[in-house]
Subunit: 322 residues, 2 copies
């Protein structure tokens, strides 16, 4: 699963219904109809009516990577359908955005599961498909497979030795791209990088996934070698100081948390920290994000109160894993 | 005792024997004779032959404030006589430098004890004394009482709010001066400041001590008010982060330790940290100084090894006080 270097793997399909125009020309009544049709394909899955959520609740779904940041700004009836690792945004940029996220390097498993749901959609609904061009999508960059395969990688050693800057040009040769934690244009906080295919036309799904798997495995090897080189007193000191701050600080904002998270996750990888697993620190990372954390508190919190509440939440987590 | 603001109080007397020239004209044979004479005044006190010590051992006595930095560089037979809070340097700048150090604000107690030892010296040895000018000393700045009364103060809040810079000009009006941790020309690391009289002529010992006590009490009040003002989330965060680093870091140099020490000592004063006392953290501070720490290790340590050994020493201390 390579969890020391790979946080998660994601397969996403973009699909549109033939009977309705794309989002830019869609009217709210049609949007509601689409939502009903997709819900009927998955009668046993839970569905969340996004129109009834407040901003904080919507942002928390973004932090959990269950919806895109764009989804919450779309002014149209919209719905999220959920079932374990599977989530379906209805009325995002495309009528249907279906994704499966799995932890670690699990592109094949995520693909298999996403295909199963996609087969149900394509079987029960009339999906826009062209023999020549494949699936038709709102944005031309998705036409063809309509698939985005992406892997969230944790690359602290390659960030430290600056090798990370050499990756982007190499990736683009293979039709791949690298981005920060929350998609396009976001920073690589926490040494987290999302690597995904850019090309959806002229290459089938399996080829795309195989190529991505190949490249990811090469990066994993590079990151591990870089970690072997930095291992020693100096990095141990950096890691343990961050661990000390995590245990003792009274105010930690989310930007600083991502820095501490990164140091501690590296500490687990280098076996300096044995108090918890990658999964535990990864789920802590999501849970202390601003919106998710504020929701958990059950209160209105200003920034300072939230940063203090974050440290209480962290201390509870650290005590539980003792 | 005011230990939240005052680390220690010290009374020092400078004395010289009439039969011998001052240090600059002294020959080694005479120096040895002086050492024997002073030792004979205190036959039950332990005496340390400084000629037999290595540099590390000598530096450790400096770190413990039992000898001056100047003492170890004097090329002459020299000796340290010790008994609890009392220490006597023989053949420093003056033939005899007698001091008594007590923890907290205890100038009167230190003065009483130093006088007792001084009476024995003046009773048994011929001490250079002039009816008009008082005790004669090597440096004219000590002529008169030959007494230096000093108080080591811990002033973190006045350092933060910069009021500390206003103190020096005020003190000089009263014939007092302020310096860093290890005397003249040293930095005020750890927010530690030594305040002492500059004048030894035209004022008797009691007047000098009363004046110093008065001023110290005024500064204590100011420092405590400043602490009340800074108390809150922000300072709690700073203190607890330093406590976290002290508990977790792998490499801590002595300069950084003084910063952490200062934060933690303030944390004890503000009752944020209740795991140990002022005395415990003060003695830790001395024990992790470079020379004292290296001696304790029983090994030759390079700088990096010493900084790592310091963290081990600190962790042992923290575990003991748990």
């Amino acid at each position: 699963m390579n969890k020391d270097v790979v946080i998660s793997s994601r397969i996403r399909f973009a699909r549109n219904l033939t009977e309705y125009p794309f989002l830019s020309k869609l009217d709210p009544t049609s949007a509601s109809e689409i939502i009903e049709k997709v819900k009927n394909v998955f009668p046993n899955y839970s569905s969340i009516n996004f129109d009834k959520l407040n901003l904080l609740e919507m942002k928390s779904y973004v932090e959990k990577h269950l919806v895109s940041p764009e989804f919450i700004s779309i002014k149209m009836p919209k719905c999220l359908i959920l079932n374990y690792d599977l989530s379906i945004m209805v009325c995002e940029e495309d009528h249907i955005r279906l994704q499966c996220i799995k932890s670690g390097l699990s592109l094949d498993e995520a693909f298999a599961e996403a295909c199963e749901a996609d087969d149900m959609i394509c079987g029960k609904l009339k999906i826009a498909f062209d023999e020549q061009r494949g699936f038709l999508t709102h944005c031309p960059t998705n036409i063809g497979t309509g698939m985005r395969a992406s892997v969230m990688m944790f690359l602290p050693a390659m960030t430290m030795n600056k090798d990370i800057s050499k990756i982007a040009p190499q990736l683009s040769k293979f039709g791949l791209t690298i981005r920060g934690l929350y998609g396009e244009g976001t920073e690589a906080d926490g040494c987290l990088y999302q690597i995904s295919n850019q090309i959806t036309l002229g290459s089938n799904e399996e080829e795309t996934i195989n190529k991505l798997n190949d490249i990811i495995n090469q990066i994993i090897t590079k990151e591990r070698s870089a970690r072997d080189i930095i291992k020693g007193d100096k990095i141990l000191d950096i890691i343990m100081r961050s661990y000390g701050i995590l245990n003792y600080a009274h105010i930690i904002n989310s930007k600083e948390f991502l820095k501490l998270y990164s140091d501690i996750r590296l500490g687990i990888a280098l076996e300096y920290i044995k108090d918890f697993t990658f999964e535990e620190i990864d789920s802590l990372m999501i849970n202390v994000m601003p919106a998710t954390l504020t929701l958990h508190s059950g209160k209105q919190l200003n920034e300072n109160e939230r940063d203090i509440y974050r440290t209480e939440y962290i201390k509870n987590f650290l005590n539980k894993t003792d």
